[in-house]
């Protein structure tokens, strides 16, 4: 199963969820309808006729009211959480880790997260620490990899060693790539909607019991008292109905969640090739009497978000959102457990099995000797291997510390972005352009030139990782500051020479994510479900790539069409260079990014076929592909497309 299929599977699961949700709501409506008939039957059977269960008008009323209440509960929570992973993390009481932190535990955490991000080719997510939680647990939240947040408890920070921490973080990253996060947020919404009935029942019972209790006795005996009692009983029924609804909700939550935890564990082992780390973390959780328990009030409804069970229930088997720890350890590392290993989830040596196994994701992790074929690259999207993690950690060590420090701090991160762009203009010796000197203050200019000195020592393989590391710091700018930053980037884009695809790619990477963040348009609207209407955009994209790939533009273009020619009947031709300039390419990319997953898969496949047509991948091609896949939301791990 590849990246796109995993994302789609998450969507199918959502459909399943909607079905269960509808079922639960219907059940609740019917129960409340019957309860109201029982408690308030006098109003319905006033004519003294037979007790009947059929009052269509009343049923409709109940259905509408209950439906509206549940829906508003769900929508409220979903809208609250749709602000992205940070909203979830803050709701759980998380504190954002400052990338330039001086705390050594936090530094280690940032290093591990940065390594994993660079390895998998996504921007570094916001990292949160739950200061109040002493047990070991972690979570990932957000709608897409662009607004993801990763949170760990203080216990995780203090009690795990680096390998174990890496295992946990890899587990969370695989949730990001599996599209689990979006699904998880919807699940929280659904649970909240059902929970509201329960809360409503409590409110009714309490308010009547307190305000009504005094009055009941003094009432002109009879009706009023009965009414109050009936209302209390009605409230209690709501509590019970809501509770039963919650039980069903939990069952849905746990059924879907448990299976995904196994998948994420398997992926984490595949990412790090170190079953010991993850197993060690699970083991440490198991050794604690209260496991991974989270004390925050939201722990229960968000239980499926966490690395390990965040609450303990008496009916553990039925409602556990996570498989038992022993089973997970056994699945990861059979040698650590006494009983027979479960082959299905066995890791490490059964790499091949995983690829063929229907439940496994990330088929094509590059082994050391794999030939670079389009299929291999496609399979590697949204996945990481040990080799990538190593390469990432190597790059992080190679980049001079002042540059990394700069990326960790908003002011210098901003300067760093300009420094990187100016270095990428390709002029030697590179210089700060006149327009920039005019628009910025002396401090910024000084910082930019200082950073450029360091960048000159290195090569362009540093640039993309630096952009990825700088992303959380850049998000710390205020709206006003971002506007200024964006102005600079716009001027830069205008001045970019049309053949400098690398600079274009870098700019696109920065702007694409930050725009999404600052305009708060987190969820890209999907407008295209078919490839056919995208013919023009595809020709622009493939033509631009074809020219970048060298002399045989026509051949590269044709090769790019191979995987998609079934879907595009009109004969597409290589556009002249003037028609696929940066402006056209930019527009085409924006349009293409609004397509559904299956369509994206073909686009990415075409892109990869195009650049590999001549078996030589130039640096320009590699970087441009990185930027394109970034915009399309399909991260390619580092080093998979190797420039030679």
């Amino acid at each position: 199963m590849d990246f796109f299929e995993a994302q789609d599977r998450a969507k199918r699961n959502t459909k399943k969820l909607v079905f269960y949700y509808a079922l639960a709501v219907t059940g609740i409506i019917l129960s409340i309808y019957i309860v109201t008939l029982i408690f308030f039957n006098s109003q319905f059977n006033s004519e003294g006729g037979m007790f009947s269960f059929w009052y269509p008008g009343w049923l409709l009323t109940v259905a509408v009211i209950v439906g509206v209440i549940i829906a508003s509960g769900t929508l409220y929570r979903v809208s609250q959480l749709s602000k992205g992973g940070s909203a979830v993390a803050e709701m759980l009481g998380g504190r954002k880790v400052n990338p330039s932190t001086t705390d050594s535990n936090e530094q280690r955490l940032m290093n591990v997260v940065e390594e994993m991000s660079i390895a998998s080719g996504i921007s570094v997510p916001d990292v949160y620490v739950l200061d109040r939680e002493e047990n070991i647990n972690a979570f990932a939240a957000g709608f897409s990899q662009n607004d993801a947040a990763i949170g760990v408890t203080r216990g995780t920070l203090e009690q795990l060693n680096r390998d174990e921490l890496q295992g946990v973080i890899a587990h969370e990253f695989s949730h990001i790539f599996n599209g689990d996060m979006r699904f998880n947020i919807r699940l929280i919404g659904v649970l909240n909607g059902i929970l509201i009935i329960h809360i409503l029942g409590m409110l009714i019972t309490r308010s009547v019991a307190f305000s009504g209790a005094g009055r009941v006795s003094s009432n002109r005996n009879g009706k009023g008292g009965n009414g109050a009692v009936a209302i209390i009983l009605f409230g209690i029924s709501l509590i019970v109905i809501g509770y039963i609804g919650m039980l069903f909700g939990r069952m849905i939550q746990s059924a879907i969640s448990r299976q995904r935890e196994f998948l994420a564990d398997a992926a984490a082992v595949q990412f790090t090739r170190n079953p010991g780390g993850l197993a060690g973390a699970l083991n440490k959780i198991g050794l604690k009497s209260n496991g991974g328990e989270i004390n925050d009030g939201h722990a229960m409804e968000m239980s499926h978000l966490f690395f390990a069970s965040s609450f303990q229930s008496a009916l553990n088997r039925l409602f556990a959102t996570h498989p038992p720890l022993e089973d997970r350890i056994k699945a990861i590392n059979p040698s650590l457990a006494d009983s027979k290993p479960k082959k299905r989830f066995a890791a490490g040596e059964t790499q091949k099995e995983k690829i063929s196994g229907s439940e496994k994701k990330g088929g094509g992790i590059l082994s050391d000797h794999a030939a670079i074929t389009p299929e291999v690259i496609l399979g590697a999207i949204g996945s990481v291997g040990k080799r990538q993690v190593k390469a990432a950690s190597h790059i992080l060590k190679e980049i001079p510390p002042p540059l990394i420090e700069a990326a960790h701090e908003p002011f210098s991160a901003e300067a760093l972005m300009f420094a990187v762009m100016f270095e990428a203009t390709g002029n030697r010796p590179s210089d700060i352009p006149e327009w920039f000197l005019e628009m910025s203050d002396s401090g910024t200019v000084k910082e930019v030139s200082r950073l450029m000195e360091y960048l000159k020592q290195g090569n362009r393989s540093w640039f993309i990782p630096l952009v990825e590391i700088a992303m959380p710091s850049l998000k710390n700018m205020s709206e006003v500051q971002y506007k200024q930053f964006r102005e600079g980037m716009d001027i830069l884009a205008q001045k970019t020479e049309s053949d400098n695809l690398f600079l274009f790619a870098l700019e696109k990477m920065v702007i694409h994510q930050l725009d999404a963040f600052f305009t708060e348009k987190r969820k890209p609207k999907i407008r295209h479900h078919r490839l056919k209407p995208l013919g023009h955009e595809l020709s622009v994209l493939l033509s631009a790539l074809a020219y970048a790939s060298g002399n045989e533009a026509e051949k590269a273009f044709r090769n790019g069409l191979k995987p998609i020619d079934k879907f595009i009947p009109e004969s597409m031709t290589l556009l002249p260079e003037s028609k696929c300039g940066l402006l056209a390419l930019d527009r085409a990319l924006n349009e293409l990014s609004a397509s559904a997953n299956p369509v994206k898969k073909y686009i990415v496949s075409a892109v990869i076929h195009c650049i590999t047509a001549d078996k030589i991948v130039t640096a320009d091609e590699a970087e441009l592909t990185r930027a394109i896949t970034e915009v399309l939301g399909a991260p390619i791990p580092i080093g998979v497309i190797q420039a030679r």
């Binding site: 209440i69 954002k96 409503l200 401090g443 910082e447 710390n476 205020s478 500051q481």
Partner: protein
């Protein structure tokens, strides 16, 4: 019956609405708290740099003891104020104390740098050059982070003061936050050192 259900629904909507305002307030407050942590790191770095700088300057500026001591004293006060603010940037009083202490410190540093013009050997000292360079770059970072913080505080305050949010804000204990403004003119421009 129907009437009571309608009332119930209205009550529910009101509760939901106020919870919404509450959550929004919390998220605005979180935003400027995060922004302050950015300032905080740089302020701390600055407080660490200043004693070193004074130590180097001491060797050359033998007759400027008072100025040097004033810098150290202002630095200690500012550090104290910063520690008071760190956990609770929403505390307006602590924030204004910090702003005051920072203004003092900037003034004292400004005088030190002005006097250092008279000591060409100090200006030529490698350590001094490096330290003041670092100090300037830290000041720039502080200024940038402070702008982000002030913008975040402004957004919070504007949201807080809107009607009816202000009623909820007062009821929930969301007091007006204070911007971090340093009024010393020297501070606006980071201390200019022309070595």
């Amino acid at each position: 019956m129907v009437a009571s259900i309608i009332i119930l629904v209205i009550i529910l909507i009101l509760i939901g609405w106020s919870v919404g305002i509450y959550n929004k307030l919390v998220s605005f407050r979180n935003r400027f708290k995060n922004a302050f942590s950015q300032i905080d790191v740089q302020l701390k770095r600055r407080y660490d740099l200043i004693p070193n700088l004074v130590e180097v300057a001491k060797n050359y500026m033998k007759h400027e003891r008072e100025t040097l001591e004033a810098v150290i004293q202002a630095r200690n006060q500012a550090q104290q104020a910063e520690q008071n603010v760190a956990g609770q940037p929403e505390n307006a009083e602590a924030m204004s104390n910090l702003a005051g202490a920072e203004s003092q410190l900037s003034g004292a540093l400004g005088r030190l740098f002005a006097l250092s013009e008279n000591y060409p050997e100090l200006k030529a000292n490698q350590n001094m050059m490096q330290l003041s360079e670092e100090l300037t770059s830290t000041e720039n970072k502080v200024a940038f982070a402070r702008q982000a913080f002030n913008d975040a505080v402004m957004n919070y305050n504007i949201y807080r003061e809107k009607f009816p949010n202000v009623i909820f804000a007062n009821a929930f204990g969301f007091s007006e936050a204070r911007q971090f403004t340093v009024d010393s003119p020297d501070e606006r421009e980071a201390p200019k050192v022309s070595f």
